[in-house]
């Protein structure tokens, strides 16, 4: 049954009309059970759209079409896949303002951040992996008695469960290498932020992908997500989201068909600021690291560890910069702070703040709701946070910084590594030896030196410990979507020649 449409209004009267269905086999369908999900604008609390929500039978349908599509798709050359990915990149670039509008309305992302950072990164990612599509080659090696070679093959039917914080970009982190490697993909978008997925689906069709190669559905994690995690025909699932959900997915994957899993989970990013850091640069990035998108970033620099010599100056400048935020409608250019993605998330963050206060951490600034119909929360920071406090240990996923002072480099490293997370970290220093030494010692998947949060299509990104495993982006990111087959040819001796 074909689905209905929704109309959204952006700035300057810009209007977008989108279908609200599940994108399966290049068509938009209602959920078979007619199940829907309400999507709210986190800035106003108002209803944005009602969209179809997939349940088990819809997931079965999507996987079924993907499996059929793969039979033909696996015969398509890397060069053709490359061309399709390039086309999709071009279309997203063409419609970047539409995506930015959607992300602002649906996910609370600032319009300019979406357009110039997230959407741009999505396009860069698609182009980067397009260039790999025709280069997934194996190796050849001699063996005694014959010869051997390896093939890098697609896994087949793959799924990606993507989050609500940077929805288009993270979707493309999965889609681009998955498709470049020759797989077919079912994307489950977050039920909080499904609307960009509808637009993306339109462009997938416009770009010319055959039906079933890329299906995009939304639905509740417990229903659609779980169905994918348990599905016997899905051979790989990539998940970006919270630790508890990731754990559940890994269990479901093991219990069903031992599907390959990659998990990009939370983080509690330490930002280490040494005495010899360039102060203005450190303040800029450290502040951005915990206020960008209200700290709703897995790589957020949510623990700020400051060496005693620079501590007072840093705190003063950091506080000033953190408070210099204009909370407003994410669509508007002068807003520098949007809402949290949902009321639930806002309240969770408030809960962490309350806990922090209860645990005896000293509030530096913030801590309160910004009254509105939306989900606005002040930029918040605590100082003198000790390593055993919840503020220092638990991922908050909000604009809440936990700050501690340190004396020595060893102390900083010990504090930074004292975490079950290991996604990303940032170091600020002018001493090159220290930079290399400390980056070596930090137990995180990414370390940035004198900046925070850099994402580049050609560099792998992914965590250690309970931040998950597997990489997005870079050459390693591509390998996650390939299987290696080894072929060995035994050489028989020459037959007798008839002379």
């Amino acid at each position: 049954m074909a689905s209905s449409t929704v109309q959204l209004t952006g700035i300057a009267g810009q209007s977008v009309e989108l279908p609200t269905g599940l994108f399966i086999n290049n068509e938009f369908l209602e959920a078979q059970s007619k199940s829907t999900v309400k999507v709210l604008n986190p800035s106003t609390g108002k209803l944005l759209a009602v969209v179809a929500a997939a349940e088990k039978q819809d997931v079965d349908l999507a996987v079924g079409t993907a499996k059929v599509a793969f039979d033909t798709w696996k015969t398509v050359s890397g060069i053709e896949r490359r061309a399709l990915l390039f086309k999709l990149a071009e279309l997203i670039e063409r419609d970047s303002e539409i995506f930015a509008t959607i992300e602002a309305l649906d996910a609370g992302v600032l319009f300019n951040d979406s357009k110039f950072l997230h959407v741009a990164a999505a396009v860069e990612t698609l182009r980067y992996f397009a260039g790999w599509a025709d280069k997934c080659n194996g190796s050849s090696m001699p063996i005694s008695g014959g010869m051997a070679y390896t093939k890098k093959e697609p896994i087949g039917v793959c799924a990606a469960i993507v989050p609500w914080n940077s929805p288009l970009m993270i979707t493309c982190w999965k889609l681009a290498p998955c498709i470049a490697a020759g797989n077919v993909l079912i994307v489950k978008t977050a039920e909080l932020t499904p609307i960009y997925g509808l637009k993306l689906a339109q462009l997938v069709k416009e770009a010319g992908f055959p039906p079933g190669v890329i299906n995009i559905i939304t639905g509740l994690g417990a229903k659609a997500g779980q169905s994918l995690a348990e599905h016997m025909e899905v051979r790989k699932l990539a998940f970006t989201g919270s630790g508890p959900v990731g754990r559940g997915i890994m269990i479901a994957a093991a219990r069903s068909n031992i599907k390959k899993v990659t998990l990009e989970l939370g983080g509690k990013g330490p930002t280490l600021i040494f005495d010899d850091a360039e102060l203005e640069n450190a303040v800029f990035w450290a502040t951005l690291g915990i206020t960008a998108h209200n700290g709703q970033i897995c790589a957020a620099g949510s623990r700020i560890l400051v060496q005693s010599g620079i501590y007072d100056q840093f705190i003063e400048a950091f506080k000033k910069r953190s408070l210099d935020a204009v909370a407003g409608d994410p669509l508007l250019a002068n807003s520098t702070k949007g809402p949290l993605a949902s009321r639930v998330q806002r309240d969770k963050v408030l809960g962490h703040i309350q806990k922090g206060i209860q645990d005896g951490a000293e509030l530096l600034h913030g801590g309160k709701v910004i009254e509105s119909d939306g989900n606005y929360l002040e930029n918040t920071a605590f100082v003198n946070v000790t390593r055993d406090m919840s503020l220092m240990r638990d991922e908050i996923f909000g604009p809440v910084a936990a700050i501690a002072k340190f004396k020595t480099e060893d102390e900083a490293i010990s504090l930074a590594n004292d975490s079950e997370y290991g996604l990303s970290s940032a170091i600020f220093t002018s001493d090159i030896s220290r930079a290399y030494r400390v980056s070596d010692a930090l137990e995180t998947g990414q370390v940035t030196i004198n900046s925070w949060g850099n994402i580049n299509a050609n560099t792998p990104f992914g965590g250690k410990k309970q931040s998950g495993f597997g990489k997005d982006l870079g050459a390693e990111g591509l390998d996650e979507w390939l299987n290696v087959k080894t072929v060995k040819v035994n050489l028989l001796p020459a037959k007798e020649v008839k002379v």
Binding site: R127, Y128, A133, S433, N458, V497, V499
Partner: protein
């Protein structure tokens, strides 16, 4: 179609078409009908080459190109690929006009391959990676891969547009700037590309086209400001290029030279397929291909019918001689220029003296520089026609009894470019291909280079590789950085 008249004859320097300061020109003649094409093709002299190099150096060191990321460079390379495809007919016609390739082949295969190369290498521009090593001894080490600088490419006249892709695309993807010289007898398609370079938006000095013959090539090979030269052409000239490169500034050199490749046909081959590959395949571009298997070695047990079948294909091709290369139904063109025509005929005459001529052996009528598809059977293995590259439609056929004999015959050459092997036995295929002393081996088909696989010759067929990621590496240099 009528001969195209819209073409460029000037040098393309710094995004402008200019006359040569040398004041020298050269003439082009249509090899199909002897008619003059142009007498005004500009020839680059020392001053022109000096200018080109200085523009290319500025573009490399401080121009906008030097600030672009790999992803940004890729955008321009892909754009140029699109423009080459959009102008395929025009470019093919200009190559066809100059050197006589059938336009259908030029337009449907040769020109598109240039675009294929640009797209392939565009995808590598943002994937340049070196190594990093842990500081087990307290020192961190990183290997950076950096572009070379100004890279020159010299191309022959046989499939002119392909070399534009093969030599310029990897150079630019790696971040270099390029100066390219087409053959003096087939410059027109290449020169026309200047317009597309501007349209694609390349900054000035990133891609430049110069013209001229050996003298101009020597200027490039000797130039102190050029970091690398990639030459495709004859072995004898390749040796000169290498010498000049060494004696000037030791610039890096890649050479794709001649071949006298053998195709081995075993008794268990799929015969029609083997005939197609060794007869029709050999006559591609009228035999003017470095990878042509100009020595056909056939197992004795099938030799008689096989040779008859090959002759029949040659006679079939000969029956179509004389047709205008610019006509879309032409399948067989003339020799590319008078010098080559004379060369091939002189080899044929040498061969005739040896008495092994089976068919062909004559030029065709007085309509252009056509030479009949020619076969010598069992020529003397020491004869010049058997040992030396002819680069024309002249095939030498020998027979062999055993696999060992076939290998010995095949490898008895100082070339090693492109061997062919026809058999239905997997074991033989793997065994023999492992023993063939050749940079490329094609099993059960004609060998056509693929952009993602390295192409390079062994022995005196060349040094280094083009194409694939190996080819890409040759446009980068390593810097090891040790950090304590």
């Amino acid at each position: 179609m009528a001969a195209p008249t819209d073409f460029q004859t000037q040098l393309f320097l710094n995004n402008k078409y200019v006359d040569a300061k040398s004041k020298e020109t050269l003439s082009l003649v249509n090899p199909f009908n002897g008619e003059p094409i142009s007498a005004a093709v500009q020839v680059a002299g020392q001053e022109d080459i000096d200018l080109a190099v200085s523009y290319a150096q500025v573009a490399f060191k401080s121009g906008p190109w030097s600030t672009y990321t790999g992803a940004q460079r890729a955008v321009y390379l892909n754009k140029l690929a699109d423009l080459i495809d959009a102008n395929a007919h025009k470019l093919a016609a200009l190559d066809s006009l100059c050197m006589g390739a059938p336009i259908a082949v030029a337009e449907n295969f040769v020109v598109p391959q240039a675009a294929v190369a640009f797209r392939y290498y565009a995808g590598l521009a943002d994937k340049i990676e070196g190594d990093s090593f842990a500081a087990e001894d307290g020192t961190y080490r990183i290997v950076r891969h950096e572009p070379l600088g100004v890279c020159a490419g010299i191309a022959p006249w046989n499939v002119p547009m392909i070399y534009v892709g093969w030599k310029i695309a990897p150079a630019l993807a790696a971040g270099n700037t390029a100066i390219f010289k087409a053959s003096e007898s087939s410059p027109l398609a290449t020169l026309y590309l200047g317009k597309l370079v501007i349209e694609a938006g390349f900054p000035p000095g990133v891609i430049q086209f110069v013209n001229g013959g050996g003298k101009t090539g020597a200027l490039l090979a000797s130039h102190m400001g050029i970091a690398k030269i990639s030459f495709t052409g004859s072995t004898s000239v390749g040796k000169i290029v290498q010498k000049l490169a060494t004696e000037s500034n030791m610039k890096k050199v890649t050479l794709e030279l001649g071949g006298k490749s053998a195709a081995l046909v075993f008794e268990d081959a799929n015969i029609p397929n083997a005939v197609a590959g060794t007869a029709d395949g050999f006559l591609l571009n009228s035999g003017q291909m470095c990878l042509a298997t100009s020595r056909l070695l056939v197992q004795e047990s099938i030799a008689t019918p096989f040779i008859e079948a090959v002759k029949a294909r040659f006679l079939e091709a000969a029956s179509k001689l004389g047709s205008d290369p610019l006509s879309p139904t032409t399948t067989y063109g003339p020799m590319a220029n008078k010098a080559q025509f004379d060369r091939v005929l002189s080899y044929i005459n040498i061969g005739k003296e040896g008495g092994a001529l089976a068919i062909g052996g004559a030029s065709n009528g007085n309509n252009g520089l056509f030479i009949e598809p020619t076969i010598f059977v069992n020529p003397d293995k020491n004869s010049r026609i058997y040992k030396e590259e002819i680069f024309g439609p002249v095939l030498c056929i020998l027979t062999f009894k055993t696999e060992e004999e076939a290998l010995e015959l095949a490898n008895d050459t100082n070339t090693g470019l492109s061997a062919g092997l026809y058999t239905s036995d997997l074991n033989r295929a793997l065994r023999v291909s492992a023993k063939l002393e050749s940079g490329n081996v094609a099993i059960n088909s004609l060998h056509l280079p693929a952009v993602n696989v390295p192409f390079g010759g062994w022995k005196e067929s060349g040094s280094g590789q083009e194409l694939g990621r190996y080819g890409f590496q040759s446009y980068l240099k390593m810097k090891s950085v040790h950090i304590k």
